[in-house]
């Protein structure tokens, strides 16, 4: 597994085997990465919607109580549309999910890693979670933004917040594995199922 | 006294009468015609003159392209008499009284609109334009009853 250099990335973009669309400025293409811009939606974890995060809450216990199931999902995050040139204030300790402006299609033989741009990291902006983008992924990338500093950070859609590096992998993934990804083809962030596939580890009494 | 039982279309005659009186007063006190208070009366009369100039008095809200039925039901059309009969009559009377029958509506309106534009900027008015404007709007207000 080796990292793709600027020219490797450029060749992949040129032959269309890798898509990061659009790069609206040359300076997005770094020595071994592509800068990603903030999209125009912010999903903010809503304080008070739930007392704590619990994987058991994701286990589909009662299909008949649709109101409760849907309400929990809807109230978990507050959704904001932030048009270009409008500010979004990220307060210390707040978690915000934002899409990238770019649409990506990762080929079967490449894995991507997303991290914060160092200049933003120095201001306290962290994009540390879920860094791996799997082979075959198609859609926006969700950036999980957190402010680790002590003062709020103003963000504007379109700013380059993150960077994505690429690594080729020896054995390309099978398409059948990728189809099951819960985020594939997404246009904006949404909450994932943190217990997906792990229901056996949730206590039975919590599932009822 | 009920204020909601009137079924006739809104001809806006009271409003236009009030605005006409304001505009004839602005001609002699142009300083009053500049600023937020005068902007709406001047613009509203200007729009009325435009309707007069282009004989474009429809001023109706249309339903959406897909709203084939009213609330999903078939219905007859509601027939309302046109709103502008008395207003048009008053405009014609004022025009003939001020400019004479031989002057076209187009020419009369263009002169009046020029005056209104000048009033919003507190620009000097020619004496004959002042007289025309004063007379037109006094006559228009009187004709509205």
């Amino acid at each position: 597994m080796s990292a793709l250099s600027k020219i490797d990335i450029a060749k992949r973009l040129d032959d269309k085997s890798l898509t990061v669309s659009p790069l609206i400025n040359m300076n997005q293409l770094g020595e071994s990465s592509i800068d990603l811009r903030m999209g125009t939606v912010v999903m903010l974890a809503r304080a008070g919607a739930q007392s704590h995060v619990d994987p058991a809450a994701y286990v589909n216990r009662d299909n008949t109580n649709k109101h409760e199931l849907k309400r929990k999902k809807q109230q978990k995050h507050e959704r904001f549309d932030i048009p270009f040139t409008h500010p979004f204030l990220l307060h210390p300790g707040t978690l915000a999910l934002v899409p990238t402006l770019e649409w990506v299609k990762i080929p079967q033989d490449i894995q991507a890693i997303v991290t914060a741009r160092s200049s933003w990291a120095r201001e306290g902006l962290n994009i540390a979670t879920a860094t791996i983008v799997n082979p075959g992924y198609c859609g926006i990338i969700t950036l999980e933004l957190a402010n680790f500093g002590e003062i709020p950070i103003t963000l504007y859609p379109g700013l380059r917040l993150a960077q994505m590096a690429f690594y080729d992998i020896a054995t390309p993934a099978k398409i059948t594995n990728i189809k099951t990804s819960q985020f594939n083809g997404k246009f904006e962030p949404s909450a994932g199922d943190i217990a997906d596939g792990d229901y056996c580890f949730i206590p039975e009494h919590q599932k009822k | 006294m009920s204020i909601m039982s009137v079924s006739r279309p809104d001809a806006s005659t009271s409003m236009y009468k009030h605005f006409a009186s304001l505009i004839s007063s602005y001609v002699d006190a142009p300083a009053n015609s500049v600023g937020a208070d005068a902007a709406i009366p001047i613009e509203s009369i200007f729009k009325l003159l435009e309707m007069y100039r282009f004989n474009a008095f429809k001023d109706e809200s249309r339903r959406g392209a897909l709203a084939l039925r009213a609330n999903g039901h078939l219905s007859r059309i509601s027939k309302t008499p046109s709103w502008h009969g008395s207003v048009l009559n008053a405009l014609n009377n004022a025009k003939i009284d001020t400019f004479g029958a031989e002057t076209s509506t187009e020419d009369a309106v263009i002169e009046l609109e020029t005056v209104l534009k000048k009033l919003t900027k507190n620009q000097a008015l020619e004496e004959n334009h002042k007289a025309h404007t004063r007379n037109f709007f006094v006559q228009f207000g009187n004709s509205l009853g």
């Binding site: 450029a10 609206i24 293409l29 | 039982s5 809200s61 392209a65 027939k79």
Partner: protein, 458 residues
């Protein structure tokens, strides 16, 4: 409390409501102009009520309705929220509306003497038929016009269907007195007076009720309105059809097509036939659906929209798109109310009118513009003016980003409709629609960067 006191009290209440609207963000540009315009109108109405005699029922009832209209406007503004509509589409659409719906004759001008454009406000409403642009009446005392664009709440992201708003823009243009006269003349002179059926009210009634040639589906509809409303040939034109409104509907269909191109036609076909499956419904204010759709299909063909040639794999999708459109054409010639010559002349006259308004006329589509966008949608990539290429400079490979790709959002919509017709089971209408919505958003970013580059700032 007498009537005058009641109205003055209502003015105070409305003032409170207006202040409450400032709690919300209801547009990309914020709230200042709406607030100031509404406040000015309210203060003026209050002055009028104060100046009226307490016993003048005529004046007070007139001002009651003025106040009610303002109250409706403010409540519409209050109910609007950015998250209820596709704002990137709206921003593009607003650019057209500002150009096409600015009254050229007004006392309200900026420091350069240019007329202020209307203020555009957006609202989502329930019901499929909510597509509408509400325009301030000319009798509303106002400084600046306010247009309220209504979207159906359920279709908020369906940008491929939103071109139907081109028709509504026609009404908004028509609401300007100077344009009403001009457009009325075009429709009357080149369309109506030359038509076989529409030259007089009796000829329209005859067209509808000549049972030997009237299509069966239309006859069935006529028998329904006879049974339910006692409408027959003798009173259809006085009690059922508002022909002045019909003429305006035809006009606005033409404007919609010229403004949005093939995506208007596709949206109109889908939406109208989803409401009126036989195409035979005769509306009070709307001509029979099939007459409207047949006219627009003929107009699109006259404009040559269906003659573009593409690469073989793309052409399959394009052919499928036009096939689906032509399937909506009613073959009974009873529905063809205008000849191609009449349609051609009307198109020419209206194109000349729209071309004087920046962006109002959809530029004639070309293969070069549309094909790359279709390809992107088919590859499940949002369609935008972007292509990454490598070029050789001094013997070295260098990225060559095509920054100057400016793409008209109406081209994106056309491409989306074609891709959605391709028959790819993994790309349904919703997918193509979402890709186009995202493409329009991305294209705005490209446009902003292009403007910055052109200024030399980057």
């Amino acid at each position: 409390m007498d009537a005058r006191e009641f109205l003055l009290n209502e003015c105070a209440n409305l003032n409170t409501v207006l202040e409450e609207t400032l709690r919300y963000e209801y547009g990309v540009e914020g709230s200042r102009i709406f607030f100031e315009e509404c406040l000015n109108r309210l203060e003026l109405i209050e002055q009028l009520i104060n100046a009226a005699s307490p016993t003048s029922s005529t004046a007070l009832s007139e001002y009651f309705y003025k106040l009610e209209e303002l109250s409706s406007l403010i409540s519409r503004i209050e109910r609007s929220s950015l998250k209820e509509y596709s704002w990137p589409f709206l921003e593009e659409f607003k650019e057209i509306s500002l150009s096409a719906c600015t009254d050229p004759n007004t006392t309200q001008v900026d420091e350069n003497g240019n007329p202020y454009p209307p203020q555009v406000h957006v609202l989502a409403e329930g019901g499929l038929s909510s597509y509408l642009i509400h325009v301030d009446g000319r009798r509303i005392p106002s400084k600046r016009r306010i247009l309220t664009i209504f979207f159906p709440r359920t279709l908020k992201h369906y940008v491929l269907l939103h071109p139907i708003l081109g028709h509504e823009m026609g009404h908004a243009i028509f609401s300007i007195a100077a344009y009403e006269g001009l457009l009325d003349k075009v429709v009357e002179e080149y369309l109506i007076q030359k038509s076989r059926f529409f030259t007089s009210e009796s000829s329209i009634a005859e067209w509808l009720y000549t049972t030997s040639v009237t299509p069966k589906s239309v006859s069935i509809f006529l028998s329904v309105i006879e049974a339910e409303l006692e409408i027959d040939q003798s009173n259809v034109m006085t009690d059922y059809i508002d022909f002045v409104a019909w003429k305006e509907e035809f006009l606005c269909d033409f404007i919609g097509l010229l403004m949005f191109g093939p995506s208007f036609l596709a949206a109109q076909c889908d939406l109208l036939y989803s409401i009126d499956s036989t195409g035979s419904e005769i509306g009070n204010y709307h001509p029979p659906t099939a007459c409207r759709v047949n006219t627009m299909i003929a107009a699109a063909q006259i404009l040559g929209y269906d003659t573009l040639k593409f690469d073989t794999d793309i052409q399959i999708a394009v052919d499928a798109f036009w096939k689906s459109i032509l399937e909506k054409k009613q073959l009974d010639s009873w529905f063809d109310v205008f000849t191609n010559d009449q349609i051609q002349t009307t198109l020419t006259k209206l194109s000349a009118f729209l071309s004087t308004h920046k962006k109002a006329l959809y530029p004639q589509p070309t293969t070069e513009r549309i094909q790359p966008l279709i390809k992107q949608v088919l590859k499940k990539i949002p369609p935008v003016g972007y292509e990454f290429k490598l070029k050789t400079v001094d013997g070295e490979l260098t990225p060559d980003l095509a920054f100057d790709y400016s793409v008209d959002f109406r081209d994106i919509l056309f491409a989306g409709w074609i891709a959605a017709s391709a028959g790819d089971p993994s790309l349904n209408f919703e997918d193509a629609n979402k890709l186009c919505e995202y493409g329009i958003l991305q294209q705005r970013a490209i446009k902003m960067m292009n403007a910055e580059v052109n200024k030399g700032a980057v």
